[in-house]
């Protein structure tokens, strides 16, 4: 597979390490009342769609950036690649 890195252009997936669902960005608040339940869902419950999936890839043999890649799990078509840090900020993770 080829991942079109937003900063570096197309790179072979062999340079990357896969993590999983981009929902892993949404780490719950440890002080929430139901923190245990939220962390349980965060840690263990995943959607496994046959189709479009937002997922985290790490450019380990590259610029060390984490990316959010939108990939079709049936065809491997990649329709969007974003810098995960930007995604995290847009999802309100700025402290």
């Amino acid at each position: 597979m080829i991942i079109n890195h937003p900063l570096l252009g197309p790179r072979d997936a062999a340079e990357f390490v896969y993590l999983g669902d981009a929902a892993l960005i949404d780490r719950p608040d440890w002080q929430a009342k139901d923190a245990a339940e939220q962390f349980h869902a965060y840690g263990y419950l995943r959607d496994n769609p046959a189709g479009t999936h937002q997922e985290l890839w790490y450019h380990e043999q590259g610029d060390r950036s984490w990316l959010v890649v939108t990939r079709d799990t049936l065809t491997h078509e990649i329709t969007d690649v974003q810098i995960a840090r930007d995604v995290a900020r847009s999802r309100g993770r700025s402290a």
């Binding site: 072979d12 390490v17 440890w30 965060y42 380990e60 840090r85 993770r93 402290a95």
Partner: protein, 982 residues
């Protein structure tokens, strides 16, 4: 024997003669020949025995689709089985032997198998060798393996080398026939970066095999001129002897280049290269494969596909026989007759299944309409054919044409399904191609020359326009379209003898019908039940006729019946090529510690730790076994001082205004309040609360920490920290960079460690217990000004330091430390003594941090701060992970001190049965403690911390042993930690 079937002409250089042997027999050929063409030239029609029935077989095709002519090529360690003679390029001194027979090829002792054919029909394997069960491995399998099969391995290590490589292009053109050449030429003239790959050593495809013309030139001359033009262009990479074998994601293709297979000697260069080609667009111009018609005994040597006959006649100047017949259901077969006749070969008959007039005039040939071949005569060579009307025609060669199948294989590598094209009675690529791919020429169903040329050019132009290139306005090459109509006939129903579909796997029409009767009707089931379409040729000549037979049985159409899935590779790829350089010592890179050379010179035995080579122990004269060395190293360290290279531990430089806050998130215990100049031990949890790494982190300055990780997890910790930095806390100012390789770090441990270091560290640094207490750290200089970092940390339990110098000084530093330590009788120690001492001290390591244990299990539960958020904190508090009877890390010693504990043994209370239900825990680490003089262990047992002194059984069902062990503190030595603080 002379070349009795050599006609002359073609693309072989008859001015030069090459010698080769087949089954020890000396023969001759010419440059430009394949082994197959040379064998035919020499009149060697019988080249092998069939897979199951040991039937005599000859050469059936002239290309990579060959099912029959598989040989052992070369000899000794270089011998390669299952080489297709049809693509093996002839070289001087080539040796080939035939496969799959006992005794000689002519008198195969296994040929009696053919008489047993009634018992060996489809699925016989599954039905016959059922019982008794004990016979499966000992009797049935060896017997089957011996009688059935292909070639034999040399059983020696492959002496050749292989390589891999990476190529990039705008347009990849697969196949250098008319469509591919037209495509490559159009794209190249526009300025696009083009790779043109062709499996043949002579590009040109069918142009080399036909007598057709382009722009008034002979097709082969046009091909040669086009190739010369392409070869001269900087933006074109012409790759012959290169098979594009797979279409992968996002325009990536796999290709195998055969670099030295055509040479007598590789000259030390890689034999083959496995290329990964990154293309923006691709044109598949893979051509088409002719298909046979099934009739009785249609597998005899001398029966050949009609297009292949033209290849041998026109390209190689060889005729497969002296008196040829042609059997066809289409116009194309007629050209074979015409080309043979033009070369002066006798064509005795053209048998056309159609009731149609002659397609062309073939001097001397009888045209027999509306007829078919039902049987053939001649065991080791064809002697005659019998037609549907009963007449027998003597002949020594039969060219068969059942029409052409586009080579759609690569269009299907990403689950594309071809669609049926009624007009050519074949599957053609449908719309669901791999992204970026377009198909042109015969591969796309354009089976005539004019159409193929035009399509190649148009498809390539569309592809490169897509990429922003402007197609060139040159005059396109032109050619006529040759007659090509046909009427599908798959098998001659009047045949009563066995009619082969798959020559390689010995599958007949009857087998497919039987598969249908027994319920294996899906093509995928039929394939597996009959083995049709398996092995080296993957049924290139067999699949479609077999589908047609299955369609007849089921009463469905062929498109309704469907095809099996084509998967890579298109043609076989040797495992050696897939392995590339990754063999033996080159399987993976090695990482060497900075003191590697010193260790090598001082008796070290090395152990692989991940990619690292670490000194495991250092042998001294007189030591009889590893234990002698390890015991000495551990004892001497505890008695005086020992030195160990610990560079392999991961080192991560953490800097930033938020470095402290960040480490508080990463570590379960607090780091924000760690004073500058101090080190702290920390544990890291996964988000699920399991402990996954530990180590020390030193605060070098307000915003600068130096973290160490375990050797094994260095990469993983870094990765997870980057995840936390970028994805979880994206607005923290914190920066990470690995410095693992940058610093050579040595543990200097033992009561004399300070005294030793005082000789090495420059005197303006105070190393006294007051000036540099336990868990201190700082930047120092050594040996007169070389920068170094010093840490007062201990893994051994002794007073100990770790000293780090820039890695370039590491080897010298080891020597200096040993030299400075000479007066203290300092000892170098390896990873074994390191392990012994950490077990004696009760420190957890990888065996304890095994992905199942929590801080609570490790006895470190109180380190998990409840006052802050950190990764793993919340889930580590789940009640189920904090039960009172959870396993706890404790020490163990055998009640009978002479016994050796076994790592992995499980604990059972005394008086209870050794069952899973009574399992209370396990031993994780064991060592012989030279300090205590007996075996010791660390392990986990339920409520361990409250059971000190209790005796339990340590049971190892694997070793079939058990022993009584006493639960003790994990700190076998210096439980109060007085030594390390001294």
């Amino acid at each position: 024997m002379t070349q009795i079937n050599r006609l002359g002409g073609g693309l072989v250089n008859q001015g030069q003669t090459l010698s080769f042997t087949f089954n020890g027999k000396q023969m001759q050929g010419h440059p430009g020949d394949t082994l197959a063409s040379a064998l035919l030239a020499n009149g060697q029609l019988l080249v092998g025995r069939s897979f199951k029935y040991h039937r005599p077989r000859g050469i059936f095709t002239a290309g990579s689709e060959e099912p029959n002519a598989l040989v052992h090529l070369r000899s000794g360690a270089h011998q390669e089985p299952n080489t297709r003679a049809t693509v093996a390029e002839l070289f001087d001194g080539l040796t080939a032997t035939s496969q799959n027979h006992r005794g000689s090829l002519e008198f195969d002792l296994m040929a009696t198998t053919d008489l047993l054919a009634p018992f060996l029909s489809a699925g016989f394997y599954y039905k016959t060798f059922m019982w008794p069960r004990a016979f499966w491995e000992k009797l049935y399998e060896p017997a089957i393996r011996m009688s059935a099969g292909l070639g034999r391995l040399s059983m020696q290590e492959d002496p050749d080398t292989y390589d891999k490589g990476y190529l990039h292009c705008d347009l990849l053109v697969i196949g250098a026939g008319p469509a591919g050449l037209g495509a490559a030429l159009a794209a190249a003239r526009s300025g696009a970066r083009v790779i043109l790959a062709d499996e043949d050593f002579a590009p040109g495809g069918r142009l080399n095999a036909e007598t057709l013309e382009i722009d008034g030139m002979a097709g082969r001359d046009w091909a040669a001129a086009t190739i010369a033009e392409l070869a001269a262009m900087d933006n074109v990479r012409l790759m012959t002897r290169t098979t594009v074998y797979g279409a992968y994601d996002h325009g990536t293709y796999g290709a195998l280049e055969r670099c030295t297979d055509h040479l007598a000697n590789s000259g030390g260069k890689p034999r083959q290269i496995l290329w990964r080609i990154y293309s923006k667009r691709a044109v598949l111009a893979a051509g088409a494969t002719e298909r046979p018609i099934a009739f009785g005994n249609n597998d005899r040597p001398g029966i050949m596909l009609a297009g292949a006959v033209r290849t041998y006649v026109n390209r190689y100047g060889v005729t497969p026989g002296q008196r040829m017949a042609v059997f066809t259901n289409n116009d194309d077969g007629w050209r074979t007759a015409a080309d043979l006749a033009a070369k002066g070969v006798e064509v005795c008959a053209i048998i056309d299944t159609r009731d149609a007039p002659a397609v062309c005039d073939v001097p001397g040939a009888r045209h027999i309409r509306n007829a078919g071949v039902v049987n053939t005569v001649g065991r080791k060579a064809l002697r005659a054919i019998t037609l549907t009307d009963g007449q027998v025609i003597p002949c020594d060669g039969l060219a068969v044409s059942g029409g052409w199948n586009p080579n759609v294989h690569l269009t299907c590598h990403q689950r594309g399904r071809p669609e049926w094209n009624e007009s050519i009675s074949a599957f053609v690529p449908a719309g669901d191609l791999p992204p970026g791919m377009a198909v042109a020429g015969a591969a796309n169903g354009a089976l005539t020359l004019g159409a193929a040329l035009e399509q190649g050019r148009n498809v390539a132009n569309a592809q490169i326009e897509d990429l922003g290139f402007t197609p060139s306005r040159d005059t396109p090459p032109r050619a006529e379209d040759e007659p090509h109509t046909g009427a599908p006939v798959w098998h001659i129903a009047a045949s009563t003898k066995r009619a082969w579909l798959d020559l390689q796997n010995d599958v007949t029409v009857k087998d497919v019908k039987q598969s249908y009767r027994e319920g294996f009707r899906s093509v995928e089931h039929m394939k597996r039940y009959t083995t049709l379409g398996m092995a080296t040729d993957q049924g290139k000549t067999a699949n479609i006729p077999a589908l047609a037979i299955m369609a007849e049985c089921t009463g469905k159409t062929i498109p309704e019946t469907g095809t099996t899935m084509f998967r890579p590779p298109y043609t076989p790829v040797p495992l050696g090529a897939l392995a590339g350089r990754a063999r033996g010592r080159e399987f993976r890179p090695y990482r060497l510690t900075p003191s590697h050379e010193w260790a090598k010179a001082n008796g070290a035995t090395f152990v692989e730790v991940g990619n690292w080579l670490r000194a495991q122990w250092f042998v001294r004269p007189g030591e009889k076994g590893w234990r002698d060395s390890v015991d000495r190293e551990a004892l001497q360290t505890r008695q005086t001082v020992g030195i160990c290279d610990v560079t392999t531990l991961g080192k991560i430089d953490v800097q930033g205004r938020d470095a402290a806050a960040f480490l508080n998130k990463i570590y379960a215990n607090g780091f924000a309040k760690l004073a500058v100049g101090r080190v702290r031990y920390g544990i890291m949890l996964r988000e699920d609360g399991i402990c996954y790494d530990d180590g020390t982190t030193a605060r070098m300055s307000e915003n600068h920490y130096v973290m160490t990780t375990t050797t094994a997890n260095a990469v993983l910790v870094y990765r997870r920290m980057e995840f936390a930095r970028q994805c979880l806390w994206p607005d923290m100012d914190v920066h990470l960079i690995s410095t693992t390789d940058g610093w050579a770090q040595f543990a200097v441990a033992g009561p004399n460690s300070r005294k030793l270091l005082q000789k090495v560290v420059d005197p303006d640094h105070d190393l006294s217990n007051e000036g540099f207490p336990f868990m201190a750290c700082g930047e120092v200089t050594v040996c007169g000004g070389t920068p170094a970092r010093l840490f007062r940390i201990s893994f051994s339990g002794e007073m100990a330091f770790e000293i780090a110098v820039p890695a370039r000084y590491g080897n010298a530093m080891m020597g200096v430390l040993m030299e400075a330590g000479r007066e203290f009788n300092a000892v170098p120690y390896g990873t074994e003594a390191l392990g012994v001492m950490r077990i004696e001290k009760g420190h957890a390591a990888g065996n304890e941090l095994d992905g199942r244990t929590t801080a609570y299990n490790l006895g470190l539960g109180r380190m998990v701060s409840s006052a802050k958020d950190c990764i793993g904190n919340t889930l580590s508090r789940r009640p189920e992970m904090n039960l009172p009877d959870a396993v706890k890390l404790v020490g163990f010693r055998p009640v009978d001190r002479t016994k050796k504990l076994i790592a992995g043994a499980h604990f059972i209370s005394e008086g209870k049965e050794a069952t899973m239900a009574n399992d209370e825990g396990w031993i994780s680490s064991v060592a012989y403690s030279p300090t205590l003089g007996h075996s010791i262990g660390l392990g986990f047992i339920k409520s361990g911390d409250t059971r000190i002194g209790e005796v339990v059984r340590a049971v190892s069902p694997v070793h079939k042993t058990e022993m009584r062990v006493e639960i003790v503190s994990p700190h076998f030595i210096d439980p109060e930690g007085e030594r390390l603080r001294g």
